[in-house]
Symmetry: C2
Subunit: 344 residues, 2 copies
């Protein structure tokens, strides 16, 4: 119950299309931004799913959303620039920025504030060097989706300050409530990352993509060409076919599991905000001197893996519990957790 | 006849293994350095092929040799360091260095000197900031393999100056004469890159790897983890199975074609060194004011694509002719070339 990796299989069509890669001839070098037919299909998919208009030139396919995050941060910002990350957050945003010599300013949100940053907090963090703000809703690890008004205000603030908005939306498939893609704001300095990993249970395939203004895409493409020539063509073909699959079962499965985790977590007195989406519960353990890293090591010995909160920022007394297991395993895991918490 | 992309198909076992990816379960996140079983198989393959001893910890799988070149240069060198490239050379070495703020010193070799750098040239290029020398034999674009004594001396010189040796050996499958991998020197600061692109005609799959000391591999792995999490598992599985294939037919095919190109090139008076390997002829056109870029554009209109020499360094009056076509197409192409050269 540690990693964010769906336990279910990729869509059936993925299996069939793997069998066709050879005969269809998806074996050769290709365009760095991705196969034109794949990007055409992505345009249709995105237009339908996120209610926005994009062209194939607004898309770059990458080996996972992570690579798009890496190229966006590395090519759009310069050493000395600053980037804002709202924590708790997936550590890759910070890691990519630090690797590129970018200064990271973090905004700490709390379970008490329902993981909502205040506009004031963000305003106070912006200075002349601030060039980008990272958003990730539904959020990993909290599952939070921002209230629409707050999201609108943040976008407005970013526009006023001419900031890039890097919006990692790989959990959009698992949004329970009202969720609005950053694409819908039509902001020319936004970069939205997406992936097949979570939505289509294709973590190991390494296919993601970014959607942005053509000028941004061209910059990202230059670094991608340098690193990779292009993304694996067999994997692009397979991902393209996966777009045809109905993945609503995945959504339902994860939502049911999250509800189960929520109930169990409430029963044992964990403090958390009921997630609006994603695949996790991020919960505080109310114990004197609780240390998530140590705790995660202890639970591991007893057969339960959870991710310590420290990986996501200054959240030493939190753990992230992933819903990426069968219900019976989740129940068993939560029972182990309950017994450990009682016993200590 | 422009790109370095074999026209033949990947081994048959690649088709079969694509069909098995799903049932075998190669679908999930994995280790950044590559699947342990794949690296085990690579160890066997490398030990047999290059007559050297390595362990799985000496290997990192990457999405193409290019990515390993990128991570090696980026993680081993620091801005301000210098790197030596012997030209003509594939432009990626230089590009990766410049991207990382590394200064590139090029050594110009000539057709008159049979594309051999002198030890003196290299010695004169080394200074206190020099940290790496790039080797690429069999060479793209010339097909050159260095005489063993010269190679030994270069390695010795690199050792004396404590330089990293980045040896890109992706054309080793197409070495005609005596060729010795840099691995055979057991130098702890060498990094050898390999790929399935040329040897197994798997360009589009994007699977390569690097072989180096564990300390170097760990550094490269850190950046690879940041960028990619891991290399596509389906592609790793397929490449692993491809190791079982007998690829000697590929070698024979390319060698026969190169001989054909050589004969045609001699007939039309092109100046070149008969390649010792790889898949190209790099030839000078003896014409007043000849410009390879312009020429390549002209030939394209007449149905022949060649790569201008300028892409490989200061070789304006050279063109690279690739053997990656059927013989009939090669004959046709060389006839077009002959007619253009006569006509102008």
């Amino acid at each position: 119950m540690e990693v964010g990796e769906p336990d279910f299989l990729p869509p059936k069509i993925v299996k069939e299309s793997l069998e066709n890669v050879f005969d269809k001839g998806f074996l050769k070098y290709g365009q760095v931004k991705g196969m034109p037919i794949f990007r055409e299909e992505l345009v249709k998919f995105i237009s339908k799913k996120f209610n926005t208009k994009v062209t194939p030139d607004n898309i770059i396919v990458s080996p996972g959303a992570r690579f798009s995050i890496f190229t966006a941060i590395t090519t759009l910002l310069n050493p000395g620039d600053e980037m804002i990350v709202i924590e708790p957050a997936w550590p890759a945003y910070k890691d990519c920025a630090l690797n590129a010599g970018i200064k990271v300013r973090t905004i700490n949100t709390t379970v008490e504030d329902k993981w909502e940053p205040s506009l004031k907090q963000i305003e106070n963090t912006i200075n002349a060097n601030t060039k980008m703000i990272v958003l990730n809703y539904p959020n990993n690890p909290t599952g939070k989706i921002l209230p629409e008004k707050l999201q609108d205000d943040i976008i407005e603030l970013a526009k006023e300050n001419n900031l890039y908005i890097l919006s990692d939306e790989i959990y959009s498939q698992y949004a329970k409530g009202n969720w609005k893609s950053i694409l819908s704001y039509n902001y020319e300095k936004s970069i939205v990352t997406q992936s097949f990993s979570k939505s289509h249970a294709m973590t190991g395939f390494r296919v993601g993509y970014a959607i942005a203004d053509t000028k941004i895409i061209e910059k990202m493409a230059k670094l991608e060409a340098l690193c990779l020539t292009n993304v694996s063509e067999p994997m692009q073909y397979v991902a393209m076919k996966a777009l045809e699959a109905d993945t609503s079962d995945n959504t339902n499965t994860v939502q049911k599991r999250l509800e189960l985790l929520e109930q169990k977590a409430i029963d044992m007195g964990l403090e958390f905000v009921v997630p609006d989406g994603a695949m996790y519960i991020f919960a505080r353990v109310n114990k004197e001197g609780f240390d998530g890293v140590q705790f995660a090591n202890n639970t591991l010995e007893k057969g339960l893996a959870v991710a310590p909160g420290e990986g996501f920022g200054d959240y030493k007394n939190f753990i992230r519990i992933s819903a990426c297991q069968e219900e019976t395993a989740l129940i068993e895991g939560m029972n182990i957790l309950r017994d450990i918490l009682k016993g200590n």
